[in-house]
């Protein structure tokens, strides 16, 4: 990839591993993850921060990776959907979503998983169904009508997961 602009060397800790690359400043974190690191689980649904499909966890907080430059993640920690499960076994959040048949086409799914992961990581505790809907208002799903996603999150938050 050629560019007239200065390329920068960055090192980002992604899913626990230090990953180095040389990128253009304008390269988004989402594209860095997807194309430079082959972590294609993070999806692009809008590229203007409205749909949440690109959600990753940056330094413990759920953020839209399409609205962050890769260079801004230099020296920081990113968790993507590929980093949530433990070597083949599903994370309890993923298991709860699976058991509740929350998703259909799957394109929005990693974004939801990471938003929920971030939410749980911040200690959201038990939430009502309405509160769950509001917490997830930044993630758009076209297939599911959200109800079974809420079921899955409710199950995950109450620890009712058949892992």
């Amino acid at each position: 990839m050629t560019s007239p602009m200065t390329q920068r060397q960055i090192t980002v800790t992604v899913n626990g591993a230090a990953r180095a690359a040389t990128v253009e400043p304008r390269r988004t974190l989402a594209d860095f993850l997807r194309h430079d690191l082959d972590l294609t689980g993070t999806h692009l649904g809008c590229e203007h921060g409205a749909c949440g499909a690109c959600t990753v966890v940056l330094d413990g907080a759920a953020v839209r990776s399409c609205l962050i430059l890769a260079v801004q993640a230099d020296g920081h920690e990113v968790t993507t959907v590929e980093g949530v499960a433990d070597d083949g076994a599903m994370h309890p959040i993923q298991q709860a979503l699976w058991d509740n048949q929350a998703f259909q086409c799957g394109f929005c799914t990693p974004g939801f998983v990471m938003s929920i992961y971030g939410m749980v990581g911040e200690g959201c505790g038990r939430l009502s169904r309405q509160e769950i809907r509001e917490e997830l208002s930044g993630n758009i799903c076209r297939c599911s009508g959200y109800q079974k996603i809420v079921d899955g999150v409710e199950a995950a938050l109450s620890g009712e997961v058949t892992a």
Partner: protein
Amino acid sequence: MKPAPFEYWAPTSLDEALKLLSGFDDPGDAKVLAGGQSLMALLNLRLAQPAYIVDLNGIAELSSISRDNGTLTIGAMTRQRIAERSADVAAACPLMVQALQQVGHPQIRNRGTVGGSLAHADPAAELPTLAVCLGADLVMRGPSGERTVNARDFFTGFLSTVLAEDEILTAVRIPAAGPGTGSAFEEVARRHGDFAMVGVAAHVQLNGDTIAAASIALSGVDGQPVHAADAGAALAGQTPSDDVFAAAGAAASAGLDPTSDLHASGAYRKHVAGVLVRRALKVATARAKENQ
């Protein structure tokens, strides 16, 4: 949708950032990058194509929350989520907590900054309206030093402020809420977390059973937040009642001539402005009573 190319700097001090900005031949070719929740979308859509980006996220000194002597000071790069959860902010400016809960979604607030929202100056955004309501002071620094501009003079039009191209907003100073005061934020949006079609921030100071002072600001009804100064001033000395609130709503709404867009007509915004002023005053007054 990918950004056009730009050169990029990530200074670690405010001085360094300012030096960079004033060093460009045309500072209008540069944009500072704060939380990126507005600017990055514009870059991705190529609606903004600055030649230079100066990233402020590495400047630790711009992130802070402090309270002293009746003033709450929030550094411009403080994340909205941090402010939303801060005990100091909750105590000194409950209106900000309430406003922030309406801002977008948690993922936006995790990254978006208090100063970024103020400097971006979207007329439908919550923080600029809050700043106008409370008469906050905005602190900025440029090559000629630091200056303070009151929020009511800061916003000049659609996405426009008095910030010069070589200046950086560094902090916002808000008078801390005292006893007998209450505030409220009411807005109507198409969906949860959207920019408001119309929003109202109201602040009421009670003196016993009468209103000592009140302040009303509106979002979404003009190119910048509207300070309904006359409607607010007219409340001084009045005994709170629904009729009084309704009259304030009518007064605030009377001077408005909002434009129509896909989301709401001008007539809608004008009418609902009055409705929300009435509701916000009612809630703010009730809170002020509890706070006496």
